[in-house]
Symmetry: C2
Subunit: 366 residues, 2 copies
């Protein structure tokens, strides 16, 4: 158990934005929401998973929708309150703690804001260890946990509770309502007891985000190494490519941001070209004719100078970025994990090959 205050929030937002792998929302927007809540209501208690009783009700909270829209709509304070009341009423008992569902600039911050405003603790775990675009893509789905009852509220005051036969159906129905509500909403789903959270959750994700954020902040002051070396070492990242953004294709469809970014190599990558496709999050990175990383491994773009993560909604022509691969949470590499979030689910015509194997060379496969 420890406290999360303003300085922790800065680092968590920064680090979570890296783990967002291009998605998870604009950390600037997310940070403002969390800082506002903590300034007004005081710091938040962060619980280690094992500090939560097995029978306690844990309530995840997140935003659903296209990150570009999510950054433009107001996130109302009453939304947490509405979600909290819907969940308490549905289960007929008190919520013990909030938890995040994914790591990302917004989705790591909202649970902090909710915890501050409602005076509840936050659990140091989530369901992805990164961000993914669809709501069934959580470790809890592999554990057979139902996404529903799922509560959904918009900033206008509309709300819905879903109960579905599969988590894919939750995604279908909630996505349809999200679009009708203007493209982004606040949700609570995968409400579970402490025992389930401990068994399937990705532990220590808030703390990991915070440490990553701190490392990014301090990367230039590490002695004896170049900032890039220091960054890669600390993030345990694989250097995929460094280049200048020469093209961004983007489309908002079905409350998702779909697109592709093209990089022209700089430095040691001069003369080469990289292409990264995304659906909210980066899905596949290719250098020339060779795939260098795919989901579920994390493909992260960071500013080539400051190492600050660049989310897919902030991609801009001319920006110089470093593409980095991070290994995903081990459970995603299982057969069940790859069925949920492997490259073929997203329509990519390749099997999953772990990042570290792709990084060690191998034949061109495209």
């Amino acid at each position: 158990m420890r406290k999360i205050g303003l300085s922790e929030i800065e680092d968590i937002a920064l680090g979570a934005s890296l783990l967002g792998a291009g998605g998870g929302g604009d950390p600037y927007v997310g940070k403002l929401v969390a800082i506002g809540a903590v300034r007004e209501c005081g710091p938040v208690t962060l619980l280690e998973p094992d500090e939560v009783p097995d029978d306690a009700l844990v309530m995840p909270i997140a935003m659903m929708g296209a990150p570009t829209i999510l950054g433009e709509k107001t996130i109302g304070e009453h939304e947490y309150q509405n979600l909290y009341e819907m969940v308490s009423k549905f289960f007929g008992r008190q919520v013990y703690a909030f938890m995040p569902m994914e790591a990302g600039g917004v989705n790591s911050m909202l649970p902090i804001a909710a915890a501050a405003r409602l005076g509840l603790p936050l659990v140091d775990a989530d369901g992805m260890g990164r961000a993914f675009p669809e709501l069934q893509m959580v470790t809890f789905t592999m554990g057979g946990v139902s996404a529903t009852p799922m509560a959904l509220v918009d900033e206008k005051g509309n709300s819905a509770i879903f109960n579905t036969i599969t988590n894919k159906w939750t995604e279908e129905l909630a996505r349809a309502v999200t679009m009708s509500c203007g493209g982004s909403v606040s949700v609570s789903l995968y409400c579970m007891d402490g025992a389930t959270m401990k068994r399937y959750g990705v532990r220590d994700i808030v703390t990991r985000s915070q440490k990553l954020g701190e490392a990014i902040r301090k990367v230039k002051s590490v002695s004896g190494k170049s900032p890039e070396e220091a960054f890669l070492e600390y993030a345990e990242g694989y250097r995929l490519f460094k280049g200048k953004i020469v093209d961004v294709l983007r489309e908002t469809k079905g409350a998702f941001n779909y697109g592709k970014v093209v990089l022209e190599g700089i430095g040691s990558d001069k003369g080469h070209q990289a292409r990264i496709v995304f659906q909210n999050e980066n899905l596949c990175a290719q250098v020339d004719d060779r795939i260098v990383a795919t989901v579920p491994d994390l493909i992260c773009l960071v500013d080539a100078e400051t190492f600050i993560p660049v989310t897919t909604d902030a991609l801009k022509y001319g920006k110089r970025v470093l593409a980095v691969g991070l290994k995903c949470f081990e459970m995603w590499r299982s057969e069940a994990g790859l069925e949920l979030v492997g490259p073929r689910y997203f329509g990519l015509d390749t099997d999953y090959i772990p990042l570290e194997e792709r990084a060690n060379g191998g034949e061109a496969d495209v």
Copy 2:
């Protein structure tokens, strides 16, 4: 208080199908569902509105979606049970009686089936006195009654409960989910107390449907009058046009059936042409260049020989039909009523002129 058994169901389905004004679903499908339930569970008790206590919880039940789809999907028995449990749980009290929300071949029948299967009475009132395509189009909206909490279930077992800031928002969100669920779902909305039902409901709609059905069934045996005269007299209908269907344009979009039917005059209408546009229900009838009826008045097509109503999803090239206008429930002719269901809401470029005035001649206005 009286009982509804198999013979009553036959007449109610027939009459309600006329009041469906082209929509409300296929009476054959609806009838089968109600007959199956009554055969298995016994007849249903029909309550006059005044027999319902003021504080009793009344639960409307209906299908939402495109009639063409609604006729193709199975209507599962467990759907009523699911809806009933969702509503009881949400309100934390017992449901006193079911009621229909609109008149129509399916939507007059489902509440009978639900009442039979769950052993509850049915109230002789609805919220339209006809059928309309969108869910905010009920007398209760004029009374300031909220459509929500609205319960929605599909045949697969998915469900949702909505709470919205306006009844138009309920329509938006529920329609989106209806589309995702395959185009039609079962719903309960405008749950209300007995006092509200008595104040704003369209009374005696089940009985009126039954009497109309009986009249259609017996129309050929009336002596001293042609069947057409007898039908028009009993239905209090205005003869709009008689013709052969020469064209049907139909499109399913947003879980609605949109379209247009063109009639070539026969008999005394020979040499003239009529066009009727619909959105699930018939919205506007025009003979040559003159509008002869618009919403909220009922525009009904019936078989030219048998007077059996023809719903918009059953329109077929070559069929000979009589187009008849029926006066709508008086409340729809108020300013508030016309705002909800007047011709301009549906994008028709005409003011509302009561059917009986249009029928008495007047200038061409198209």
